[in-house]
Symmetry: C2
Subunit: 481 residues, 2 copies
Amino acid sequence: EEVSHLLNLKAQLGTVEDGSGPHKLILKTPKGTRDYGPSQMAIRADVFNKIISVFKRHGAETIDTPIFELKEVLTGKYGEDSKLIYDLADQGGEILSLRYDLTVPFARYLAMNKISNIKRYHMAKVYRRDNPAMMRGRYREFYQCDFDIAGQYDPMIPDVECVRVVSEILTSLQLGDFLIKVNHRQLLDGLFEACGVPPDKFRTICSSVDKLDKSPWEEVHNEMVNEKGLSPAVADCIGKYVRLSGKTELVEQLLQDEMLVGQCKSARDGLEALRLFLKYCTLYGLQDQVSFDLSLARGLDYYTGVIYEAVLLSDTKTEHGESSGVGSIAGGGRYDNLVGMFDPKHKNVPCVGVSIGVERVFSVLEARLASNKTKVRTTEVEVFVASAQKNLLEDRMKLCKELWDSNIKAEHSYKRNPKLLAQLQYCEEMGIPLAAILGESELARGIVKLRHVVTRHEIEVQRENVAQAVRDLLTKASGNS
Amino acid sequence: EEVSHLLNLKAQLGTVEDGSGPHKLILKTPKGTRDYGPSQMAIRADVFNKIISVFKRHGAETIDTPIFELKEVLTGKYGEDSKLIYDLADQGGEILSLRYDLTVPFARYLAMNKISNIKRYHMAKVYRRDNPAMMRGRYREFYQCDFDIAGQYDPMIPDVECVRVVSEILTSLQLGDFLIKVNHRQLLDGLFEACGVPPDKFRTICSSVDKLDKSPWEEVHNEMVNEKGLSPAVADCIGKYVRLSGKTELVEQLLQDEMLVGQCKSARDGLEALRLFLKYCTLYGLQDQVSFDLSLARGLDYYTGVIYEAVLLSDTKTEHGESSGVGSIAGGGRYDNLVGMFDPKHKNVPCVGVSIGVERVFSVLEARLASNKTKVRTTEVEVFVASAQKNLLEDRMKLCKELWDSNIKAEHSYKRNPKLLAQLQYCEEMGIPLAAILGESELARGIVKLRHVVTRHEIEVQRENVAQAVRDLLTKASGNS
């Protein structure tokens, strides 16, 4: 209690010391977070809709889980990265942490509800106390977008559908050319075994291999030898393989490689799984997009089977002019043992899934819009009800009511007597296609002017037909576009 | 450090003491929270879409803010309820709290970004460490759904649009008959002044009045006299007024009431504002739904002008068979001084808004679906690709590819050789309208059977025309429904 008294005093001192009195407030969002304004939200909504359409095309359901979990649910799932988990204060109850990803809550959900079959997507925010690099689009609060298929099925059928989903999403988002690299954890383990890596070093050597997308082989070799204690010969053996990539013919070639598959069931199983996977890829029309790549390792420990990662091949600039490089935009794989960690009897539910890097998608699209100087519409207003003279507020209100009743998106000024020019400028700024202009003399004649905002072309319509006329003009416009 | 050592020991002891070893895990979501499964999500998505359509019809933009704020942003905004705020642990950085509502973050957003005009909606989760009453649908993590208009405009024009938005939403959700009660904070303050309540008791007496929707006048009178120290005569004076409700004629009648408006500018201003408000309500077609009700007080301190609350008139049972009563389903009002609390120069941005009680909406709809025994579809699959014999996996995959390429929502079994009966049962369970059934002899003839799942009616179509035939059948079906 004395400590809290001292802390209170210190806090009071703090507010005095900064010379601004007790009401000084720092106006900011927490470190590593940001508000999303209307145009950012419009871009996000468009991306989410496109992605969700693909998920729905494949018959996926969606679920949601709380933003926080019992801390013990997350404990031991993220290795070293556990230090990045946000904890909630102990306010006299359960000990809670903010979710770090969507996969662990999904596994907890399956185990808790004894669900053994589901195909679900989940788009939601996750939290990591990482060093934010906001210029490069790395935040402490960010969206994840996951698609997973859980259930005991026949080999590679759900796995290849996940890759098909990635391909449809990237195509639909029009992000440019992409390549989906695939590999298999059993093949990697078999390769390490065949080259003579001690089993307790499989995972850490896997992490080294994972760096090959960013670092040259020499650096990775150095790390394996100098930091992780492999003999140079073992590292060389790994190096001979992990620089290979190709298609089915590479799988067939490696299946003939006695050194790799002679002694090692795991390598053979991995290769045979990949053979089936690549055959199914062809049936799903993915043969040109998928490449078998032995350097693909994926960071996470929990993968047990096929792994894949999609990279964009075109080089796009980020919002801040940096090159975004040729980077990963989606990735995933099979993880058959995670749900069992939550089940009292360790009953497993085999899972395979993919996570779409939506934050990276947003960066790429925002950069593109900025360089095109494209303005994003943030509302969907179809017609603005304007007045050409004073004292027409009530007429505007009556017309708006009719438009809303007819399910037309409409607004008018919240001022009694707005200037016509200001109203028309607002329409141009907001990209509103039509303006219904009320004037005294026109109203006396039972007429309203409908103005096409961009062309400034005006037509006169009967006051009682405005809603229908607006509807007709909008239909015609959408037919032309 | 010694303390943390002791705590560690205690934690270890704890796991030993419960007799289940260190891997015992309690499988639950945090207290007062829950997972949303596929059918709950489907109901929510439908409600959200209907509500968002109304917001968009009125030209609203949307924003999002982080799930947590600097603790000081929330401090002093919620009075006694501040104790219900979730704090994050101090992990060596800023002191953070989970958002408690969407209004305070909105005000912070406006002040921080110097935005003086916006019409925005925000649907997101908020957090309150309240005593959960999950049977009555009260959770610690729950959705709020707010619509607000910020800006310096002419009186009552945005205010009445908020009420129009409520009316459109409740109509669109088909929740049954409803009534929107309106009152004005200045009228309440003027009434308290006229009756002789000391100014420092205005807010607490306002809270007492707010209880009139649940308690009889006698109880509220008692509270005013015995707990809050009003003289019985003052309480009687209040009681004479707060039991009144009506339409414009009640406003006119009170404007003639010398005792109320003779000395008291505030009461007169409030009544004149309400007169204008009710006139605009009529222009927006709301005259039958809106009732001027002097007992409406609203709990929150920050309202400064018109206040309103929508109540459902029909009595609906909740999911758990309890009567949900005649309850508030939406509420809001004008708050002109909140943004100024965040501005360094206390510059205000006048705001008016409404919050839709979406959790209550979910309860009512879930209760209705449960009592109708209606099954909610959780996917939108249009056609299931089934096989009548073994060894047709590759044919199923090829057909699915074609359907997906044609933007048709399709799935097939993840088993190599599923039983036909199991596949058709799955279609019935999931409400999938069509099944494309592949059979060896049909494929040999270049034919696929298309089955209408409910009627079991089958037609034969050319293998190369399946996508088009599915599209035609779906169009015909939606035309008939």
